[in-house]
């Protein structure tokens, strides 16, 4: 069966790949939005931390014999811990300054982290195999569905929605949102705002680490896997606006799908389509699709 001259199997497979990429965009832009909302810092290191998550999964297997499922829990925790250390020792000195210093600091951290991993492991990727429980593919009749990639979409959606729920619907989330709007007032109520800030950074970063572990069987685990991804995520964030959590999720997934469709119909543009969408959105709605101008 063909749609616009493309066989259905190919179209759906590319769409699925697009959804997978979209899940990563959603998770990473979600983490960025959460961090920016409370800390006013654009965390350039998000890509490098995502890479660390993937590398920890690989290291866990290679050096400690820890499997995928253990690392899915452990990886984000270690990355989150690393994030907390960064926040406590370096980021907190910059909150009173212009945004750009936060960006530059995290940029410097990116260079260091990527450089260290590159000097130890080189640039070529390390292989990481799909866990046995998720290996293989299911034949749905109209397409062959690789099990692991379906799992990636499912897991990321679950995590994103859980995050959205916590932030929008629970008391903890309410403190967080209040802290974003008016930290002094929230502190006056007895809430330990600095602690909340630190934990928020740790959580945002742990999300990136989780995405990294998810990505390990799909993409080559290489020190540079984060850098090109992070810039696309920045574009996603500009398109979505950093106002709402749901906005980040929807935008991320949507753009992944658009990218997948572009790969089918006009592959030459697939690398630039996200940026083109960004340019269009900027012309029509400068604040972003879901954004509130800060």
């Amino acid at each position: 069966m063909e749609i616009f001259g493309i066989p259905l199997q190919a179209l759906l497979s590319q769409l699925l790949l697009g959804l997978v990429n979209g899940s990563f965009y959603a998770m990473l832009s979600l983490g960025l939005a959460v961090i920016f909302g409370l800390l006013n810092v654009i965390n350039f290191a998000h890509g490098a931390l995502y890479m660390m998550g993937a590398f920890f999964a690989w290291m866990g297997l290679t050096y400690f014999g820890l499997g995928y499922w253990e690392m899915l829990l452990l990886g984000p925790l270690v990355v989150g811990l690393f994030g907390i250390i960064i926040e406590r020792t370096m980021l907190r000195w910059l909150y009173k300054l212009d945004h750009l210093y936060g960006l530059l600091l995290t940029f410097g951290i990116t260079l260091i982290v990527e450089g260290v991993f590159r000097s130890i492991y080189g640039v070529s990727g390390q292989p990481y195999s799909v866990p046995d429980a998720l290996a293989g593919a299911t034949d749905l009749g109209f397409m062959i569905l690789p099990n692991y990639r379906a799992w990636v979409v499912f897991a990321s959606l679950a995590v994103c929605l859980a995050t959205w729920f916590v932030i929008e619907k629970t008391k903890l989330g309410a403190y967080l949102r209040a802290g974003t709007e008016n930290p002094k007032l929230v502190e006056a109520f007895g809430i330990n705002v600095p602690l909340m800030v630190t934990l928020t950074y740790g959580f945002g970063v742990a999300l990136a680490g989780f995405a990294g572990v998810l990505a390990a069987p799909v993409i080559q685990v290489s020190p540079l896997m984060g850098s090109n991804l992070i810039i696309v995520v920045f574009a996603v964030v500009v398109i979505g606006g950093m106002g709402s959590i749901m906005g980040s999720i929807v935008t991320g997934l949507g753009l992944g799908v658009i990218e997948g469709l572009t790969r089918v119909f006009y592959p030459q543009a697939s690398a630039t389509v996200v940026f083109i969408v960004m340019a269009i959105v900027l012309l029509i709605r400068p604040a972003g699709l879901f954004g509130k101008e800060k």
Binding site: S124, V218, P267, S270
Partner: protein
């Protein structure tokens, strides 16, 4: 008055700081043109997608050649300079230029990556110094981009196309789709192979280009599968080939298409294991298990590196030795005399028998069409290939009728 003095102080100090920093940063030790040493420069990919097939192993091979030669020639010590070009043409050409200008390098050897080879060849031609391209495959080095100072030593994309391409078509693989690394090498390999395929009566249904060192081949492979071609021609090398083959297996592409690895080295087969590569054809200029001489050298290399050498690493050794012999024979490292000597002397060593350097710079030697053994046929570690056919050099490489090099008309 006070203000002006302060301002002068600021400006003068800041500019003096600028100047001082400038001179300290730049002028640490000014290297002199070598008179007392013969310097060989080697620029290759030491850390990236091609680091296995040449890389540090190539450095070791050259060191072996220098040591075997005695460490000095015509009374001068031989020194080796190495650099990692990270697959970037600008790093390669800048370093090459600096070495020629500042270090007085007499021979530049080019490791992997055709793009860097082309840029280094141009610098060497500008500086009129000998340049031996080993790792880079693009046949442009001896065609459109040939120079009087370039020698293309180990293999090129034309030989690969005529070897593997022809063999696969003859076996029944008539319709092709290419997965191509998007730079000079991939483009050369694809166009040279496409030409051979069409000449033998096959068809090319299309191609998809992937960035060098791509992380995820899934979307490219899906496009390939949609073409419904019989053969998926892999116009890439090193880590890219390994990953494409792995991904093709993961996505079940191998169920509907056969893979043709247009450039494969023994390191790739080792990484993929015979399971994924058995039956695949490949064309190469040298194999460690060909005869007693090759085995002997390969074992020495294995003792150092703990893996068997690829043809590139063997070529590094051979080319260095041939150059040093030329320097000894002519009594000088004058580039024109060396190039003249190399172009009229037969090459007979563990790498090539009755090899010679042609007017266009190609080192003509026998190429071998080989096939990867089945698991059951492999009796000992690294026993991977069986030789299907020996292709004489004159047939494998660009012929006089086909050449685009102005030096060989």
């Amino acid at each position: 008055m006070k203000r002006k003095t302060m301002k002068f102080g600021h400006k003068a100090i800041s500019l003096a700081v600028a100047a001082a920093l400038g001179f300290t940063a730049c002028g640490v030790a000014q290297a002199q043109m070598s008179g007392s040493e013969v310097k060989i420069g080697f620029i290759t990919d030491l850390s990236g997608v091609y680091s296995d097939i040449d890389g540090q192993g190539g450095v070791e091979a050259i060191k072996m050649a220098i040591a075997d030669f005695g460490g000095s020639v015509n009374g001068k010590k031989i020194e080796l300079l190495t650099a990692d070009h990270q697959n970037k043409a600008d790093i390669a050409s800048n370093r090459a230029r600096e070495w020629f200008d500042q270090q007085g390098v007499s021979l530049l050897i080019g490791g992997t990556n055709s793009g860097t080879n082309l840029s280094m060849a141009k610098v060497a031609a500008e500086k009129k110094k000998p340049y031996i391209a080993i790792g880079g495959g693009t046949a442009r080095l001896t065609n459109e981009d040939c120079t009087p100072y370039t020698i293309h030593y180990a293999y090129d994309t034309v030989a690969l196309a005529k070897g593997t391409g022809s063999a696969v078509v003859k076996q029944g693989g008539k319709s092709w789709f290419f997965l191509t690394a998007d730079y000079a090498f991939g483009a050369s390999l694809e166009s040279d192979t496409a030409r051979v395929v069409k000449a033998e009566g096959g068809t090319v249904l299309g191609d998809v280009k992937h960035p060098l060192s791509a992380s995820d081949f899934s979307s490219f492979l899906l496009q390939a599968q949609a073409s419904k071609a019989q053969i998926l021609g892999l116009a890439n090398a090193g880590g890219d080939t390994v990953n494409s083959i792995k991904a093709a297996n993961e996505f079940g592409i191998t169920k509907t298409m056969k893979l043709a690895g247009l450039l494969m080295f023994i390191n790739d087969v080792h990484a993929l294991t015979l399971n994924l590569t058995h039956g695949m054809y490949l064309t190469d200029g040298w194999y460690w298990d060909q005869n007693e001489e090759t085995r002997k050298w390969a074992r020495r290399y294995f003792d150092k590196m703990k893996k068997m050498p690829s043809s590139l690493q063997a070529a590094d050794y051979s080319a260095t030795t041939q150059y040093l012999m030329a320097v000894k024979a002519t009594g000088t490292d004058d580039p024109d005399k060396i190039m003249a000597y190399l172009k009229k002397t037969k090459i007979n060593d563990m790498f090539a028998k009755n090899g010679y350097v042609r007017a266009d710079g190609s080192m003509i030697h026998e190429m071998y069409l080989m096939q990867v053994k089945e698991q059951s046929e492999s009796k000992y570690p690294w026993d991977y290939y069986k030789v299907v056919q020996a292709i004489p050099g004159e047939q494998a490489f660009t012929t006089k009728a086909e050449t685009k090099c102005s030096l060989w008309k």
